[in-house]
Symmetry: none
Subunit: 222 residues, 4 copies
């Protein structure tokens, strides 16, 4: 009996598929090209995956596993919300550098408005992070670490928006160029970007106009 597709081969086609799907889009990606890139024949590919659709799903699943894994790592961190944010920012930067293609694919799917995945994907992925962030924000609010004049959902939404855009700015040609447009060489300096974003977030998270006024008043002599 011939050995089944080894784990390496399997991983290879999936990676090839992710790259091709990310690069060309699900429609223009060619199963033939993927098989070749993955080092096997179309035939086997179709032995393991019923059709393009099924194979695409498998590629997607692989990408999402990595995404979820990354999320879970951030999730596990305790401590001050800002250090959580820092962990998230760093994770985003690392993930974007390491799994460029995964994010390209993810970005493409989010852009394909008519895509049959939009809804399911959104619920599956964003469900995790939205829940995570909201909970974190709620508990931080209780301990007085964050302002209390913002809706936790919207608060989490704005935060995640900043992370998403950062992610994309590392992987899509368009967003990378845009990043450079805005920031010039600073775009290459991960440390700088992280530090500045955290400073931006710290303020947004922490200080409400009311608080500041209040603190000032508090500080005043009676």
């Amino acid at each position: 009996m011939l050995k089944k597709l080894t784990q390496e081969q399997l991983a290879a086609v999936l990676e090839a598929g992710i790259a091709e799907f990310a690069e060309k889009g699900p429609e223009r990606a060619s199963m033939g090209a993927i098989a070749r890139a993955g080092g096997l024949s179309v035939g086997v590919l179709y032995k393991y995956y019923a059709d393009k659709e099924a194979f695409f799903s498998a590629c997607l699943e692989r990408s999402l596993d990595a995404l979820r894994q990354a999320l879970r790592e951030i999730e596990s961190r305790d401590g001050h919300i800002l250090s959580g944010a820092e962990a998230a920012v760093r994770a985003v930067q690392r993930f974007a550098r390491e799994h460029n293609a995964y994010l390209k694919l993810y970005l493409r799917l989010t852009a394909d408005c008519a895509g049959p995945y939009a809804r399911r994907l959104a619920d599956e992925i964003e469900g995790i992070s939205s829940e995570l962030y909201r909970a974190r924000i709620a508990s931080a609010r209780e301990s007085g670490d964050v302002r209390d004049d913002l809706d936790p959902g919207l608060f989490a939404f704005f935060f995640d928006n900043l992370l998403m855009m950062l992610q994309f700015s590392y992987c899509s040609d368009y967003y990378r160029e845009r990043f450079r447009c805005f920031c010039g060489g600073a775009a290459e300096d991960d440390e700088l970007v992280a530090a500045q974003l955290l400073r931006f977030l710290e303020s947004a998270f922490t200080f409400s106009r009311a608080d500041v006024r209040h603190e000032l008043r508090e500080g005043e002599p009676s």
Copy 2:
């Protein structure tokens, strides 16, 4: 020499193209269907645009013209940077509601990593807003309206990121679903969203940890 298409005809195909591209995606959009919908024959379409790619690019350009127009309106406003931000947020909301298809198309562009236009278009489009925002921030910094501990480029970048994501959250199926994941029904309440985002921005723009400490100290009796 070709008799130019009348302005109406041109507008008609481009709008037809925008609608079709936004709906079906660049791959599944059919040049034939677009020509028909625009009241032209494929032949003429190909007289004016070298190929599908070029035509897509033209549709995009038209969408972006509208975007630029909206930007210019904001640009013209003077006054405090926060009222500028408010104008921008409102503009984004209005534009997203009115020109759904334009934004879908724009989103697609940003996701098409292999698109040969990505780079050029990024420079062209984002160049405007980045310049605008940076200048505004610089002048606001001089007048003490915004913090001075952030790189103006990154500052502008973070701001624009929030606007971009808001935009997309109104037009793509994926981002709309994500919006709901995070915010529930609040996603439908433009006023609430605008107000909360502005509050978030105000803090991020205005208060640095140093300032707050400083102000507290300043407020203390000698």
Copy 3:
């Protein structure tokens, strides 16, 4: 405007299709080969026929039109049932020589047990001839031209069976060879075959054992 497929071209592809379907069978027939043989590109073929199935149906319809036409010619003849039979036999011979491919196709379809056409075809084609023959036999019986001890349906069935086999014996390789096996060179001699078959039929049609006995008795002197 380019001319639509001319009638000749249309006829040409259909003939090419009939030939290919008859030769290779509906599955193995290649649309590409048919288009080439018919002198046009696959593209046009698919412009005029939605898919292989639809094109096959069109080929079939063309064949059946010819068959029906031939039947109608026989049908119109009046007179003695044996002269009707003679007309039928001659028609079968002429048709088989002229429209070899049509009959090959027809034979193939009748052999494809699982084919989706079996039922419909049978009803459509055989309905005509069975009705025709039965009516003819019934009237011939009334006028005493044929025996009256056979069920008209079975009678017609046996008659048509002989015609069918004769038909096939002129067109399929197998049946032609079989024909030669049985009859040697006589198989080539249409006149001889027709004459002998008619003699065979005359007896089968006309004389029942009872009649013969009866006639003998009748002829006897009292």
Copy 4:
């Protein structure tokens, strides 16, 4: 040297093949499915049969063996030619009911105009029955049991044609439907069909117009 497949295994694949070929047709029948159904691996199947074509041929051969066997049983019968015909008709009916798939396959063969086996098989199979029938007719003619105004070959041919069509009328969907078209419910009544066919044959076999006239004359008083 290959160890031969055991008789059981051989019989199993061939039967599986016959069933699959009869059901799906030679094109859509899958070698893989047949091997599986027959309890072998594709590999072995291809060790024993060069290709699909060759295997199909072997299945056919097996079917035909059964046919020949049935023929031989009829052959052995002596006696009046009409009782031989009766035996043949009954054998056809029994065989058709019992070995449906064999006949379907045989029918397919006769329809496959391009089949490279058509010729050879026709010679092989039809050679037997044509020889048998011709001899029988010749001896019957000598003993005055059948008319003498027909070519023995054509005579045998017409007779076999009637048997063949009867056979097919019991097994192919098309011919079964046609049978019903012509005969209605009578098609189900084997006894009736046999009786009527024999009556038809008796006349065709026995009475020539000349004979009848002659007998009449003979019967006349001098």
